[in-house]
Structures are given as structure tokens and as C-alpha cells.
Amino acid sequence: MAAASPRETTFKLLLVGESNTGKSSLIMRFTDNVFDEDLSATIGVDFKVKQMFLNDTTIKLTIWDTAGQERFRTLTSSFYRGAHGVIFVYDVTRRETFDTALDTWLTEVDTYATNDVVKMLIGNKIDQTEERQVSRAEGLAFAQRHSMLFIECSARTRVGVEQAFEELVQKMYDTPALWRTGPTNNVQLGGAEEAPALDQGCGYC
């Protein structure tokens, strides 16, 4: 039953969140496994590519990084167009990046992105335990309320970074609606329909 021929698909992933929550650092840690303490503010939009393997499928991730600072933001629908997953990042040491900010971001994502886009909430900077202001329970509650995946991680120590991306990719992989509607999806329809059947056990959405 398993498809013998190697398959390839592309997922578009966006990172949003307030400035200085570590979006660029998370991407850097995930794609290049480096951490730069003095990363300058992202201006406009930036993106990176990372290849992953899930079951027998090669997954090319295009990860789009946005400016958290409002003044450096470029608000275009093309940024959200065709996105499969969105990661909301907040800083566990700064409550203001969690409280009202996330609602604003959710509104924006809902306004621009398709309804079935997979959302994930990431609480970053958990290595700074002393300064923590947002508890894990609060984060989890918010995620559940908005049917998001949730994980806490640290781009500095690498804890949880890879799991976050892997979990999100798995979820996107398990959402067949994304496969069909994704404009960059180059998997043939027949193959796409087969995929969830293979991983029936893992799907939990």
C-alpha cells in the first residue's frame, strides 16, 4: 500500500509576533542551528528554506519571517497567501507580548490567511527562568482556546525548537485540506489522498 516513489511537497510557514520575541532567532536555530545574541531587527519580510523528511515524503519548508516592529512591517496579502501554517511567538519574560498582542495577531491572521491554516503558539526564551512572566499553563490555555498547537522553547539553548517545527509539519501533513488548496503543492492529488490513510494513527486534529 505504501507508495514506492519518493514524493515531495512544499509547505509555507509564517512566523508572527511582537518585536524582540525571537522569531528570527528561532528560524536561525532551526535552519542553521546557530544563535546570534545581537540579531538586528527584521525589516519587512525575510525567508529561509529548510528540507525535512516525513515518512516517505520530502518536505520543503519555506519559512517566512516578519518584522515584529510595526514601523518595519510590510502588510501585504501576498505574505499570507498560500500559507499552510502560522507560528505565533511570544516572549515568556514579557507579558505584553502575550496578552493583547496575540489577539491582534490572531485577528490579522484570520483576516488574511485561509481558515484551515494550522496555527501554533510558541512561548520563547524559557531559558530565562528567573524573568518568566507568562506561565506554561496560561500559554496552553490560550492555545487550546484558539485550537492551536502549543510548545515552549528556547532559541538560545535549542530546547524545543526542533520539536516545535516537527510537530507543526506533522500537523500540516495530516491536514489534507491544506494539501489540495496549497498553491505550491506539487504532490499529485492521488498521492495526497493516500497520505492521510498511511498515517491514520497519528492524526489528532
Binding site: 519587512g44 518584522a67 510595526e70 514601523r71 518595519f72 510590510t74 501585504t76 483576516t111
Partner: protein, 816 residues
């Protein structure tokens, strides 16, 4: 030779005698022939008979004549014989003469060869003596002489002399020459030594040995000899390099305080380069600004001069000094010694000027090093330090004068002075480079932070202190404001935000121009041009380096627009602000106004691009809803709501990021322009619906009121603006709507009215229409009745909104 001459004379006499005999014979013969002729005639005339006798007689006479002819022949032969003999003798004599001459020449040759051999012999044997007495130049002369003599001797001319002799002589002369050279080399290397001093760590030492074992070392003659043997050039090269490396470069580098000291001990003078004692103030201590001070410069140049003076005194003195010294010695020296010292072949003209030679080797390297290490470093940082320019120039002149004194330089060599006198240009070039480099790095920085630009505090405005109050400006300022409000001053820049980088560039330009006002004219022109270059650089660098970012990020795009306008604003008045204070010729010509237009165009380009981009995005969002029909269906409603949300979200975002960045008036115009685009598109999309159900009407009214409600908050309007003549629309719409919006957004009223029409019943529309037409003259129906829609548009709306009833029919007839 005398004998030969006698023979010749004799022969000549002989020849003379015989010729006289011949002449006598010939005369006699002539006479006889005349007689015979007479007799023949007589006989012929007298008688034939007598003819035979006479004929016989004639025959006899003939015989006699033949005899005479023989005699004549004999005489002739005799004469010929005599001349051939003379010729032969002459020939022999010549041959003998040639042979004798050749012998004589040979003898001469042999004598000259022998003479040369004698002289070579003398030189060869005398050379050791000359060397022992340290008469090196004479020895060198001998070497030259031997060489010259040997080269004159051609092996083919050796006339039996044994060729081996010459081979031996040549070998010997080579040996002597080598010996002389090696002796001189040894003398040079032992008496002039450059080394690292053993008593002080890292210090250099130059040692000149004057006496060796109480015997004076004759360095000068040796050097002269070396020069004449063409050995000095290479030695001097090596020496100069070492001198530069070990003495002069450390002195010029000035990173450690060094001072040359001269010590004399037991016939040895030495020059040591070492750190001065603690009580001597270190020259480096004075260095605060990182630039070489004049004091330091003087000290270093003095130290370098000391080193050169040492070499000059002890190794390479100038010619006049040597001659003076020789003359001084001569007076005391015995006559024999005097002859030795200045041998007859060695006159003053042959003496090489060692100092000049030394100078020729050292100076090209030295003056470059001094310029690069010292004078360049001494170039002042600010143009008003005129005393520094003068001091540097004076020091360079003094140093060169000293070098001329030492004999290293010819009078008229002024490389340092030329550089020092051009120091203004060097300063200006350096300053220009520094400023442009600083400006460029500032332009390239990724720091997009902005600062608030306050019109009242900004230079270049008519109200600012820097602005000269000319008659025209005073008039403008004094004119009372006609409309009661404060009259905006033409030259004021509106309150807005600009980037820090641009603020810094403009500040740099002002600082530079301030400096230009206090500079000498020569520098001022360069610095003034540098300011202009800086603005050109801005226009070339910033849009290229940051262009993509400016186009992508709305706020940065608008900031750049402000930056360009800000620079243009200053460019307009910069010339006027500084002109009167600038040195000539700039006080007449200085201007920046020509750069204003390109800057404005650049700013406008980015502004227009940003506007087009944002408008396209808004339209694209509305288009994505694919029309507003069937909004009563939940799916369609969601799509339309999403589109409207996108429009509002984008407008809100732009309003937020541009609000404090753009000047207020421009901000309102900009936002109004975008709102107008969005409202116009929504109106035309709604008008395009052919059938609007009741549920849809509610949805559309909801959308319209949402847009109106949100759009109002996007502009920053002055609440105090009094309401103008109220219109029907103003009365009917929400009273709190600021009338300024209606003038800024032309479609605003129409948009609001569309919402009202959607809410009206057919009867209400008819009633309003009739009331409108009654109150106004025909032809201006729409305006007077407050209808902003064309009759056709209204008719279309009525058809879409209301089902086909007789009333609708009647109403529609009104709009025909």
C-alpha cells in the same frame, strides 16, 4: 740619400751635353740640305746632260745624308739610354727608403711597448707601496692606468715579444686589482659598521672607526678609491638601506621615544639610537589627538638630521670640507708628504663629492619616508589651524636647508618644501576623503531610526537665527496675515520625522560649511565641493542600498520621502545662509539650489511608488471578494467581510505608521487618497449588483457603516475647523462627521449616501427626489437636491433594490 742625389745630378748633366751636339748636327744638316737643293736646281736648270753627273753626285750626297741620319739615330739612342738608367736608379732608391721607414716604425713600436711595460711594471711594483701608505686614490689610479695600458697593447703587435709575458702581466694586474679592492672592502667594513648595540636592548648602533691601533684609518682616500673603482655605489646602496631601516625609520615611526647619541671612545665614534633618559620628556607623551604635533615633528626632524650629520661628518663629507681639510694639513706637512697626499695626477677636480653621492642615494628614500610618515601625519584636522600649516612648511624648509649645508642636496632641491607648501591641498584632499567616507558609512548603516524634525528648531527656516534677515524676508515676515490665522512661512519645513542618518548628514554639511567660512580660500573651495559631493553621494548611495527596503516597508518609504524633502529644504537655503561668510570666489557663486529638484524628484518617486503599491493592495483585497452580490449566503458573507477587514486592517496599519512620520497635511491627503480609492471601488462594485435582496441590503449597509466608522478614525483632523455651509448631506449624515473629510475624500458623501439609499423605502426616495427638483433650477438637479448619484445610477439602484411594481415603474419614470 746624398749619394742618390749626386747620381741624379750627373745623369742630368750628361743628358744636357748630348743634346747640344745633336742641335749642332741638326743645324749643319739644314745648311747642307739647302746647298744640295740649290745645286740640284742649278743642275736641272742648266743641262740635262749634266744631269747624270749631277744625279750621281746627288746620290753621293744622298749617301752622305744617310750617314748623317745614322749619326742622328745614334745620338737619339744615346739620349734614350741615359734616361732609362736614371729611372732604374730612382726606383731602387725609393725601395730602400720604404724599407728604412718600416724599420724605423718597428723600432718605435718596440720602444713604446717597452715603455708601457716599464710603466706597468712601475705601477705594479709601486702599488703595494701606495697601499701601505694608504694612498688609495693613487692606487686606484694605478689600477686604471694599468688597465688602460694593457688594453692598448694589441697581442698582434707584439713583434716577437713573448706572448707569455703579456699573459703574466695581465694576471698580475688582475691580482693586484683584486687585492686593492678587497683591501678597500675590508677597510670599509671594519671602519663603518651598522649593528645592533650590545649594551642596549634593541637599540641600533652605527660605528665609525677613526684610528686602529693608534694608526689613523684613512677612510676618505679609501672611499675616493672605491668610487673611482666603481665599488662605492653598491656599498652606499646597502648602507643607505640599513641606515633607513635601523635609524631613520624607527625615528620616523615615533612609536617609541628614541634619541640618537654620539659617543667617542678610543678613536671610535659611534651613534646610538636609544630611549632617552627619564628626565627627558618623551615626545610621544605630547600626542593626545593622535596627530603629530609640531613640537614632535621638529624633534623628529632634528633627530634625523643628527643621524645624517653624523654620517656626513665621519663617512661622507662634502667635497669643499675635504679640500679645506687637506689644505690645512698641507701647511703643516713636509713638502714630500704633501706631494704624496695630493699626487700630481690627483687634482681636486677628480675628487668625488661623497656627500652629494650619499645624498643621491639616501634622499629619494628619505624624503618619501618623511612625507609619508611625518608630514602626512602632521596634516591638521581642522582648516583653521593655520599656524600648523606655516610651522610644518618652515620645518620642512629648515630640514632641507640643513641637508644642503651637509652637501647632500644641491641648492634648489625642495621636495619636502613643495609638499609642505602644498599641505593645504593635502589637507583638503584628506579632509574631503574623511568626510565622504564618514558620510558613506553613515548612509549605509542599517539604522532606520527616526527623529522628529521640529520646524521651529530647524535651521534654514525663515524664522531661524541662522537665516539672514534680508529685506525681502523681513517684508514677508512683517506682512500681516490676511485671513486672521498665522501665515505659514514659505521657508519653514513642516513637523515630521526624518531618519537619524539624514539628520547626521545634514549636520555634517553644516559643520563643514562652518569650517569653510574660517578656511583659507585654497582649502575652502575643496571643502565646499566636498559638501556638494556629500549630497550627490547621498542621492547615489541611499536609494540603491536601501531602495528595496524603502519600497517594501511603507513607513521606511515615507521616511525616505521626508529625508529627501528635508535635504531639499536645506539645499534651498544653505547657499543663502553661508554665502556672505564664505571666502571668495564662493561668496559670489556658492549655491546648492541646483540640487533641490533631483532630491525632490527622488523623494516623490518613492512616495508615488508607495501610494500606488498601497492602492493596488486595497483594490486587490476588494477584488478578492469577487463582487458584493449574495452577501446573505454565509460563505459569501465571510469572504466579503474578510475583504473589507483586510482593507480596514491595511488602512489602519498605514495610518498608524504614517501618522507621526508624514507632515500632518500630507498624511491626511495620503490617507484620504487611499480611502477614496477603496470607497470608489466599493461604490462601483455595489452599483454593479443587478439584484439586491433585503438580507443583502442589511449586509451592505453594515459594511458601509463599518467602513465609514473606521475610516473616520484614520485621519487626524482638527476638530476646531468650523462647519461650512451645511448641505442636505451634512444634515442627514451623522452629525459628528468632520466636514474636512468630505473635502479630502470626494467619494465620502456619496459612500454615506449609498448607505442611506439602501436603507430608504421607494416612497422616501421619490419624495426626496421630488423635493430636490422643486427646490432647484432644472439642469442642476443633482447638486441642489443633494443627490450625489446620477439619475441613471439611481434608477439602476432602484431596479436592483425593489421588485417590479407599478410604484417602481412610476418612480423610475422620474429619472428618465
Amino acid at each position: 740619400m746624398a749619394a742618390l742625389r749626386q747620381v741624379q745630378l750627373q745623369l742630368q748633366d750628361d743628358a744636357l751635353g748630348s743634346r747640344e751636339g745633336i742641335e749642332a748636327g741638326v743645324a749643319a744638316l739644314q745648311r747642307k740640305m739647302d746647298e744640295v737643293k740649290g745645286q740640284v736646281y742649278e743642275t736641272v736648270n742648266k743641262h740635262y746632260r749634266e744631269f747624270v753627273q749631277a744625279f750621281d753626285y746627288a746620290l753621293d750626297l744622298n749617301g752622305e745624308v744617310a750617314g748623317l741620319a745614322q749619326q742622328l739615330q745614334a745620338v737619339n739612342n744615346l739620349a734614350n739610354d741615359a734616361s732609362v738608367g736614371v729611372l732604374n736608379k730612382l726606383h731602387t732608391a725609393t725601395e730602400r727608403h720604404v724599407a728604412l721607414t718600416r724599420k724605423l716604425k718597428d723600432a718605435d713600436c718596440i720602444i713604446s711597448v717597452l715603455e708601457r711595460l716599464c710603466r706597468i711594471h712601475d705601477d705594479l711594483t709601486g702599488m703595494d707601496g701606495l697601499m701601505e701608505r694608504s694612498l688609495f686614490p693613487q692606487a686606484a689610479l694605478s689600477v686604471h692606468r694599468i688597465n688602460a695600458l694593457l688594453s692598448e697593447l694589441n697581442p698582434e703587435d707584439q713583434f716577437g715579444c713573448d706572448a707569455k709575458i703579456f699573459a703574466v702581466i695581465r694576471a698580475e694586474s688582475r691580482r693586484k686589482r683584486t687585492a686593492v679592492k678587497s683591501h678597500l672592502e675590508t677597510l670599509w667594513s671594519t671602519s663603518v659598521r651598522l649593528a645592533t648595540a650590545h649594551h642596549a636592548e634593541g637599540a641600533s648602533e652605527l660605528v665609525v672607526v677613526l684610528t686602529d691601533n693608534n694608526k689613523p684609518v684613512h677612510l676618505q682616500p679609501a672611499l675616493q678609491a672605491m668610487h673611482s673603482l666603481a665599488m662605492l655605489e653598491s656599498k652606499m646602496d646597502v648602507f643607505c638601506k640599513a641606515l633607513m631601516q635601523q635609524f631613520i625609520s624607527p625615528l620616523l615611526a615615533n612609536d617609541t621615544p628614541l634619541a640618537p647619541t654620539v659617543t667617542k671612545f678610543k678613536g671610535v665614534v659611534s651613534l646610538t639610537l636609544m630611549a632617552p633618559r627619564d628626565d627627558v620628556p618623551s615626545p610621544a607623551a605630547a600626542d593626545v589627538s593622535g596627530r603629530l604635533s609640531v613640537t614632535q615633528l621638529r624633534l623628529i626632524l632634528e633627530n634625523v638630521a643628527t643621524v645624517i650629520e653624523f654620517v656626513n661628518t665621519h663617512a661622507f663629507p662634502k667635497k669643499s670640507a675635504v679640500l679645506a681639510q687637506d689644505n690645512g694639513q698641507d701647511e703643516n706637512a713636509p713638502a714630500s708628504r704633501r706631494r704624496d697626499l695630493v699626487a700630481e695626477e690627483l687634482d681636486a677636480a677628480d675628487l668625488a663629492d661623497l656627500a652629494l653621492l650619499f645624498g643621491a642615494h639616501l634622499w629619494p628614500v628619505l624624503h618619501q619616508a618623511i612625507i609619508n610618515e611625518l608630514l602626512s601625519a602632521a596634516i591638521p584636522k581642522r582648516s583653521d589651524e593655520t599656524e600648523v600649516f606655516a610651522a610644518v612648511s618652515r620645518l620642512a624648509h629648515e630640514f632641507e636647508a640643513k641637508m644642503v649645508d651637509f652637501g647632500l642636496l644641491e641648492v634648489g632641491q625642495h621636495e619636502l618644501l613643495v609638499f609642505a607648501q602644498n599641505i593645504h591641498n593635502h589637507f583638503a584632499a584628506k579632509k574631503r576623503q574623511d568626510v565622504l567616507a564618514a558620510a558613506r558609512s553613515c548612509m549605509l548603516s542599517e539604522d532606520h531610526n527616526s527623529v522628529v524634525c521640529n520646524s521651529s528648531a530647524e535651521r534654514g527656516g525663515a524664522g531661524s537665527a541662522a537665516f539672514p534677515t534680508t529685506a525681502v524676508m523681513a517684508d514677508a515676515a512683517l506682512q500681516p496675515a490676511t485671513d486672521g490665522s498665522e501665515r505659514p512661512v514659505t521657508f519653514d519645513f513642516p513637523d515630521c520625522q526624518i531618519t537619524q542618518r539624514t539628520r547626521k548628514i545634514v549636520d555634517m554639511a553644516y559643520d563643514m560649511l562652518e569650517e569653510v567660512t574660517t578656511s583659507s580660500p585654497a582649502i575652502a573651495v575643496h571643502l565646499f565641493v566636498a559638501v556638494r559631493d556629500m549630497f550627490d553621494l547621498y542621492r547615489a548611495v541611499v536609494p540603491v542600498h536601501h531602495g528595496a527596503t524603502f519600497e517594501r516597508v511603507p513607513m521606511l518609504g515615507m521616511l525616505f520621502h521626508n529625508d529627501c524633502m528635508f535635504i531639499a529644504h536645506h539645499l534651498i537655503t544653505l547657499g543663502i545662509q553661508f554665502k556672505s561668510r564664505l571666502p571668495p570666489p564662493m561668496n559670489a557663486t556658492a549655491t546648492f539650489v541646483d540640487m533641490v529638484v533631483p532630491f525632490r524628484q527622488l523623494g516623490e518617486r518613492f512616495f508615488v511608488h508607495q501610494m500606488d503599491l498601497q492602492r493596488d493592495l486595497l483594490i486587490e483585497a476588494i477584488v478578492s471578494a469577487n463582487g458584493f452580490k449574495q452577501t446573505h449566503l454565509p460563505e459569501k458573507k465571510a469572504v466579503v467581510e474578510k475583504a473589507i477587514k483586510q482593507v480596514l486592517l491595511q488602512l489602519t496599519h498605514l495610518s498608524k505608521v504614517w501618522k507621526n512620520v508624514l507632515p500632518l497635511t500630507l498624511f491626511n491627503q495620503t490617507m484620504a487618497h487611499l480611502i477614496e480609492a477603496a470607497m470608489g471601488k466599493i461604490i462601483s462594485d455595489i452599483l454593479a449588483i443587478s439584484d439586491i435582496g433585503e438580507d443583502e441590503t442589511h449586509e451592505l449597509v453594515g459594511i458601509i457603516s463599518l467602513v465609514v466608522q473606521r475610516a473616520e478614525t484614520l485621519l487626524v483632523l482638527d476638530a476646531a475647523v468650523p462647519a461650512r455651509a451645511s448641505t442636505l448631506v451634512a444634515r442627514t449624515s451623522a452629525p459628528k462627521t468632520n466636514p474636512a473629510i468630505r473635502s479630502l475624500v470626494p467619494s465620502w458623501s456619496k459612500f454615506v449616501q449609498l448607505g442611506e439609499i439602501l436603507n430608504m423605502s421607494l416612497a422616501e426616495i421619490t419624495e426626496r427626489w421630488i423635493a430636490g427638483t422643486a427646490a432647484s433650477a432644472p439642469g442642476s438637479v443633482n447638486a441642489a437636491a443633494g443627490w450625489l448619484f446620477q439619475p441613471q445610477e439611481l434608477a439602476h439602484l432602484i431596479r436592483a433594490l425593489f421588485s417590479d411594481t407599478p410604484l417602481r415603474h412610476k418612480t423610475l419614470a422620474l429619472f428618465k
